[in-house]
């Protein structure tokens, strides 16, 4: 405990933590001291008591996927009942609704479709950009690696072509745990940790921003979570291209992994440790979608400075049986009730003129 207190003071001074120090904190630090240290580091980076959020919609262009990850409740096989690829009409309607609700971006992801060529995705991007002034945050690294494999292209070419067609930024999904032994067990057909990092490095090199996620609480050990953080920190040192880190807890219902969900205290501890380890990340997001609004609100005192997205639509976590719903007003009220000022932002964490400023 004494050692943990020493490490916390070191982190609060803004000094970098090593793997062993992170492990000591994660295992031993007092709950309140950990939260306090994470919050003080957060205040060092963002002295104004502002908590940001983004108004956007998750659009899943298709749920057809040949990956078969064991933690996923969303995917369908190509011929399975309930499989779909969105039509242009559906896509148009979803984007129109998003803009009407003051949205600034869409997060668009799908599965690993076995046959659709890269040109299909380029066409979608052009179709959207020709019609709508909206930021497209789309295609997680595993999808990009999949597109490359299917088309016999290298990752750099895929990113450049998608970017030319209108892609603005890449979401940090599919990172799961960036340790290959874990990935082999839970998502054997998905890209490796090195490939995930390579896509992000290449995107950053081409001038694109991305986010980074971690899905924890399935079959990994605690030290794998810390290795994941170290891998992200190392890449961020080289590129500076990550805008935010978003840890979220695996939701086991309807998946092939039988274990109970991660608890709130474990989540808050991991969030705080992430803030302390990721000293080169500006933003850390709370996950109300998986933890519920009440715990996510407390996360704003455990290192998070962002409340994530309003999620006008969300399908993947919902498929795992978790249905939290929040309006923009509700998000603003939660942020205010925690003692912060809510501000709408873009994917690049620029503040925008709030489309929702005065409560009704």
């Amino acid at each position: 405990m004494m050692e943990a207190e020493r490490i916390l003071r070191k982190a609060a001074r803004g000094e970098r933590l090593g793997m062993d120090e992170a492990a000591t904190l994660y295992a031993e630090a007092d709950f309140f001291s950990l939260g306090q240290a994470a919050h003080s580091v957060r205040l060092g980076k963002h002295p104004d008591p502002v908590v940001t959020y983004v108004v956007d919609r998750n659009i899943n262009y298709s749920n057809i996927c040949v990956c078969g990850c064991r933690f996923c409740a969303f995917f369908r096989a190509p011929d399975q009942e309930g499989s779909y690829v969105l039509t242009r009409e559906e896509l148009t309607r979803k984007i129109e609704e998003t803009l009407e609700l003051g949205g600034t971006q869409i997060l668009m992801q799908g599965g690993h479709h076995p046959t659709l060529p890269l040109s299909f995705y380029e066409d979608i991007l052009r179709f959207i950009k020709d019609r709508f002034p909206i930021h497209i945050h789309a295609f997680s690294p595993p999808e990009i690696v999949h597109f490359a494999g299917l088309g016999g292209l290298d990752v750099g070419t895929v990113i450049a072509r998608l970017r030319a067609a209108g892609l603005d930024s890449i979401p940090g999904g599919g990172a799961e745990i960036l340790v290959d032994s874990v990935r082999k067990a839970v998502s054997p057909n998905k890209c490796s940790a090195a490939q995930w990092l390579e896509v992000m490095e290449e995107a950053h090199r081409q001038g694109m921003h991305t986010t980074a996620t971690m899905m924890f609480g399935h079959e990994e050990e605690p030290h794998h979570r810390l290795e994941h953080l170290m891998a992200l920190r190392e890449l961020q040192d080289r590129t500076g291209g990550f805008t935010a880190f978003i840890p979220w807890a695996f939701q086991p219902a309807n998946t092939a992994i039988r274990r109970p969900p991660e608890t709130a205290v474990s989540y808050l501890r991991l969030l705080a440790v992430s803030r302390l380890v990721l000293d080169n990340f500006d933003n850390v997001q709370a996950s109300w979608v998986t933890m519920g609004p009440k715990v996510a609100q407390l996360a704003l005192r455990f290192g998070a400075n962002d409340f994530g997205s309003t999620m006008i639509e969300e399908n993947v976590v919902a498929a795992a049986g978790v249905h939290f719903r929040l309006s923009v007003w509700e998000i603003r009220r939660i942020i205010e009730s925690a003692g912060f000022k809510p501000r709408q932002r873009t994917m690049a964490y620029q503040l925008v003129e709030d489309s929702y400023r005065d409560n009704p």
Partner: protein, 381 residues
Amino acid sequence: MLDVKLYNEWGLEDILGKIEAGRRLTIEDGERLFACPDVLAVGALAHRVRRGMHGDAAYYVVNQHINYSNLCVNGCRFCAFGRKKGDPLAFELSLEDILNKVRARSQDPITEVHMVGGCHPTLPFGFYEEALRGIKALRPELRIKAFTAVEIAHFAKLEGISTIEVLERLKKAGLDMLPGGGAEVFSPRVRSLLCPEKLSGEGWLDITRQAHELGIRTNATMLYGHMETERERLEHLDALRRLQDETGGLVCFIPLPFQPANTGIRDVRPTTGVEDLRTMAVSRLMLDNVPHIKAYWVMLTVKLAQVALYFGADDFDGTVVEEKIGHMAGAESEQALTRSELERVIREGGFRPVERDCFFEEVGRGGNDKTAVLTTKGTKE
């Protein structure tokens, strides 16, 4: 424990001093704790007190909830449970229905039946006595925690006898404890707005005092997050603290966040997590003479209830099956938790699970019983 400097920064060093010295906080102290922007600072104080009283223990009970009827003459505006006769959602259990519910769980290692209902317009007092006798005949080892002070007052009125006589007769029929509901917020201002027909705050305290004097221990609740002020919450806590000084009969205090869905109160938003945790912590700090504080997961959600173990709570309540009152008001929690899931959540929070009975006596279990998994409706195993 957080750095002392933090309390100087927030101007709470005198409150920290009182807590260290074991001295009682005033209502004004409570107001300053509600006003402190740093919920972690307040929580850490409550955790210090909680650890001093209970160490790393976190209690739970293996229990069964029975709501005998939701017919109710009161019509409180905050309630989504109570119904009038003829309402399609109204229900009433017969004596046999109640006993069948107990029989249905006869293989489960339950130690407590928690039974409450509305203020039924016509059921005779004998019904409740028979229900208690029937349950005790089926499972004599069970403790029955039943009937709020509001129901006790209602029985007395309907039967034309005193509340003391009601309590005496129920005790004789097998009643072990009162659950402490119906306290809401004692403030007459709030009650006149929310539940004008219901027993007054003074009446609730009187009946609870009578129960204690008859040797019937009770819990006490507070329903917050509707129309009351923080001051009114603190006055409620202070009234309980004074009652406890007199009788010592309160076992556990249960702060309940108001759930507005499906109630007659449309203009109030649900409480937020930080507000729930702060209220929990202030309750622990104010109620220096009440041994236990419950994080009732049915109202808080399991996730927040686990966090609340760091904000003054030492009890996680129970396995609860077929809870209706909170869920009819839109509570988003599960219907039931298995014992193994309760223990896991407590342990992963960093606490030591201790099974208790309704009086918080530790329940010793031998062999297989300890690992028994309760298979119940709503269980996800």
